[in-house]
Symmetry: D3
Subunit: 257 residues, 6 copies
Amino acid sequence: MSSPEVRASAGDVGAREVTIAVVNCNTSERMTAEIAAGARAVASPGTTILPLQPRWGPRSAEGFYDSFVSAAAVLDLLVTTSEPFDAVVMAGYGEHGREGVRELLDVPVVDITEAAAMHAMLLGHRYGVVTTLARVRGQISDSLLTAGLAARCVAIEATELPVLEVAHDLERTVAAFEDAGRRAIAAGADALCLGCAGFTAVRDLLVDRLGVPVVDGVTAGVLMAEGLLAAGSGVPRTGPYDAPLAKDRPGWPVSPA
Amino acid sequence: MSSPEVRASAGDVGAREVTIAVVNCNTSERMTAEIAAGARAVASPGTTILPLQPRWGPRSAEGFYDSFVSAAAVLDLLVTTSEPFDAVVMAGYGEHGREGVRELLDVPVVDITEAAAMHAMLLGHRYGVVTTLARVRGQISDSLLTAGLAARCVAIEATELPVLEVAHDLERTVAAFEDAGRRAIAAGADALCLGCAGFTAVRDLLVDRLGVPVVDGVTAGVLMAEGLLAAGSGVPRTGPYDAPLAKDRPGWPVSPA
Amino acid sequence: MSSPEVRASAGDVGAREVTIAVVNCNTSERMTAEIAAGARAVASPGTTILPLQPRWGPRSAEGFYDSFVSAAAVLDLLVTTSEPFDAVVMAGYGEHGREGVRELLDVPVVDITEAAAMHAMLLGHRYGVVTTLARVRGQISDSLLTAGLAARCVAIEATELPVLEVAHDLERTVAAFEDAGRRAIAAGADALCLGCAGFTAVRDLLVDRLGVPVVDGVTAGVLMAEGLLAAGSGVPRTGPYDAPLAKDRPGWPVSPA
Amino acid sequence: MSSPEVRASAGDVGAREVTIAVVNCNTSERMTAEIAAGARAVASPGTTILPLQPRWGPRSAEGFYDSFVSAAAVLDLLVTTSEPFDAVVMAGYGEHGREGVRELLDVPVVDITEAAAMHAMLLGHRYGVVTTLARVRGQISDSLLTAGLAARCVAIEATELPVLEVAHDLERTVAAFEDAGRRAIAAGADALCLGCAGFTAVRDLLVDRLGVPVVDGVTAGVLMAEGLLAAGSGVPRTGPYDAPLAKDRPGWPVSPA
Amino acid sequence: MSSPEVRASAGDVGAREVTIAVVNCNTSERMTAEIAAGARAVASPGTTILPLQPRWGPRSAEGFYDSFVSAAAVLDLLVTTSEPFDAVVMAGYGEHGREGVRELLDVPVVDITEAAAMHAMLLGHRYGVVTTLARVRGQISDSLLTAGLAARCVAIEATELPVLEVAHDLERTVAAFEDAGRRAIAAGADALCLGCAGFTAVRDLLVDRLGVPVVDGVTAGVLMAEGLLAAGSGVPRTGPYDAPLAKDRPGWPVSPA
Amino acid sequence: MSSPEVRASAGDVGAREVTIAVVNCNTSERMTAEIAAGARAVASPGTTILPLQPRWGPRSAEGFYDSFVSAAAVLDLLVTTSEPFDAVVMAGYGEHGREGVRELLDVPVVDITEAAAMHAMLLGHRYGVVTTLARVRGQISDSLLTAGLAARCVAIEATELPVLEVAHDLERTVAAFEDAGRRAIAAGADALCLGCAGFTAVRDLLVDRLGVPVVDGVTAGVLMAEGLLAAGSGVPRTGPYDAPLAKDRPGWPVSPA
């Protein structure tokens, strides 16, 4: 298990040679690669992006069932990997598990659902989320609610494009997101979150067409993780995110350490 | 996978020969047995209690990490069991996964966190939760929030008794819960939920000493599941709980079907 | 005044020979009979349904004025009846008075507005209410708010069918409810409550046409009352629902004891 | 039934010869007289105070049961009185019925619970309520919640002085309210509402001792009613407060017209 | 600086010879005059209306930038004027600064945003705001939120008429407000606030056409200020509105005293 | 007026030669210098920190009055400065004006109140704020509310140390903040925000003593601004933050351009 000390001292911040694990929550290698590329595109020069992917679980996660399977698969990965890292970006929009990872590790953990909402809330007065399938709106809404970030979210709009088909036809994808974005703007949004990972390509096109900021979660997540590392504010040693109790967990982790 | 049709017709309600799977979320056989005993003690004559326990995972779940592991272990169990049943009671107080089980199965699924809160809200004007460790208050609070049941919860108080030690000394256990209960009452509660499974023994003593109703989650959960079955109102065929999409899930389920 | 002891001991639960007073809040004998029939159709074999109806007040209650009159008429009835019962189901959807009955009696009191919302919240992720007249939406919304059950209610839609005319044309009634239900589903609901008593006939048709669970309040209320009786969790002896203070109440009750 | 037209035209505002019915919700003649005296002490020269009292019901209302009885007794009074008036002040703090009166009459209706909160919210940043018995805190909290005025209420503190004994010992009364007020201030309040009618005598003493504004409900209610009459903004002719439907209401009103 | 003592004693209320400063937040003399005329039209005979206008700042305020400039300009005015007054009405709908004025002065301070919402909440069950430009909806929503008055606001609808052009064509103005009002009513409102100052002329026409009360902010504000003065409940001497700390403020006030 | 285009294209992100204006809201040169030092200590190598201070206004801002004066003084500064910059950090904790600056400029604007809360929400499950004077808790609470960040804030605790005296006695300061921090932790916080600028010195000591992360606002603000610039998500061109309307603003800006 990788859990390097977070440096609460600001002394060594200047260097900022940090490694950020960017964890795709599903087992699609193509999506892991896209996420990694998006992360590297915005990371600071001193940041190493470590792309990770669970050893088992669904090829894509669009629903509560897959989300809970993925959450455990991500925990299984993190508890068995020997790769060192300084922070984690959980790159599944609206997916479960962030609180468990925060408990497991003593490094900053950023969920892209949270990071995207935070960027959007700093740029606009009300925000909306544009996502793929209508069925995931419940998850996203729950995720923003427990994150305490729902108060200024005025719309979660779906394109009804399946995650794995999005890349095939860029113009159709952009058009679908533009349409969903206009519905969110009509509901009062002046900033949008892309409610899915791997859509950096469509972001700039949407900004131009809609006239509002459009936040990509992986982008926001990596930059937020860099910020938390540079701040060096510490992590909790007490309360809900205190280290897991030592106990017997037969059959767990599922993967060999 | 077991997913018998829920009967939306009220025609066969009279008989009420139903099987309710009562799922302990952890792998403690003693606790599974206690939960089963508690369930049977309140079940109607026509109800068969089917106690289930995940095939892997923590011996007890007190924290987000164990809760997410348990959620997947429960899904792994439910997707691989060949036992038929008509409803599910998820017998882990404040634990994750209920939405995933609702998506997976087309039978009513009752989380004891929800059922206990509902009973308490029907009996008192404001309710409190008395639980074991302070660290789980975050989970419980999140669980009530996404359940939409937090508005009348005025306190979540901890006894600081570890789950697995509770049974050893009944009087000490009752005294600790009584103390936590008085703090909740001082905060405005006039009904209490026992925020952990397997505590039916202490309930009646607490009712006598505190003068407020005390709700046991397994009790409430089984009775709520019976009620939902008798009502036969159907389950959603659309929206967030629509059946999981067909897709490749390598390595899942973890257990053989 | 009828206020039998609730049995906090689980010992005698097995028998479950209980009497549940199902109280129509208005003075329409036809509606009282329909409610009683609906209650009996779902009640357990050991449950006796005791239909009650106020001795005075409006023939139907669709509005705050009639609702407050009915609330007192129900209290007048309950304080003067000599019929023994073990629990109360208040069968007026969105009507006032439940807190007063809880204070008056020391048996479980279930308002169908609450019971229906609870069943819906266990079955779907967000729920809507479909009711008769648009004017009663304010009452329903207030009732869910004080019940602490509003957080996951996304729509209250009206058919504009007057209560007393509903029975005359089943197909027109079903069509009107189906239309209101579709509006609620478009607003995000994946479960519906029938926001009025006496509509069990339309429920199964709606489930088939809409693909979401549809909860009838009387059904949910009776089953919830049975559950509370079987649980035997006690009722508050302190706080807002403590027994009414002894005092002079000239002219009250209105009816002779 | 008295329901004079509200004048939506501002033309005749200058004169302001208006009659305000100040309705005690209980049947204590002493309290009706005290409320009337308090109302007259603040009313404008052109305002006639018409004190009203239900023809039946509890001598004092401290609880949900008495509150619902009183609500109907007040409606019974208003539907049978032949006295003309231009507005109503409902002088029972935390008592039910205001929405029913608004539906019944087409004149402005001010509940002192609302008026006091509004005055307090204009004077301080957060407010508290100091009231008599702890048991009524639930009612007050529900009343502020449905009124949409709860967001800035930080405390409801009880003196445990019974309503009818308050007048007997002024110093003891003031001391009890001062103590409750200090608890509210410690919770963040910088303005207080007197959560009961007939306490104008203690108000000025409390302002001096506590250094925060103290709002008397009858005072605020009468002045708010005068303001609404002078504004002449109209009352709803549609929606939840539309006039009650014509229908049969056997046995109602209870009192002869 | 003008800060006469508020009279906490009710003794001198009868006379009610009071002066209310009605502060336009922008520097349009025409609007100041209109606001003053509206204020005088509803003020009691004993009330003197003192119209005030900042010495600098925008001609109209429709946006956060102008609103914050105006807030300081109003404070600059109030800290430098030698005119005595007994209460302040801040006549900029949705504009900032009320909490600063409350801290500065020890007289009652009424923001028309608050006063209008309060009148609307006493008249209808849910209210909406109809305003000029869509861009100010964010400010209005924030203003109602911090005022604790947002819970029953169901819509903020814009006419897209610029403030300074409204007066030119009464019929076009009324038609635009009527259209916005119908959208608010469709969203559930049964009372409306005119979300801008200087529109008293359109109010009566709207009441007639829409069948719901329409509240003018200046009207409500002046009457609320009169009510607070007559009540004499005091102002806070402690907490967030305690007098500003003595300190060096170079360059402030901007205007000569 | 300085309003360089924000680069929505990610193309030039690699370089990250950016200038961030860090705006002290008061006119204390010592505090401006401390804030600048804190900002420089965490800024990336390519970031130039441009410390700014209003040309007029209070030496420190602890209250609504000073906060509104400062908000305009900051706007006056930003509208008249010729210094170019790429983003703004508003370094006054709990102070007003951020929405006005967002409207004025088309660069990202980060309020340290928001940035600190966001860092805290990513690190802990519930957060608290520890600040100087009790009187500013109202401002902070309002600021978090309109920012949509209040849901997970469980306490705002004051040290009662005046802002300008904090630096004089480090140990006394740390002890006071530690005490306030323990009260916040007792209320459920597992992360803290330093609710005032210029306290970076005490942060690391507090982390060690309290075992929870402690977030400094200037630190979080600068890093968040860097992140927003690197993300290049755009800023709104429509809605509440659209550019201010062209209009006459006599006497504004106060300072010469």
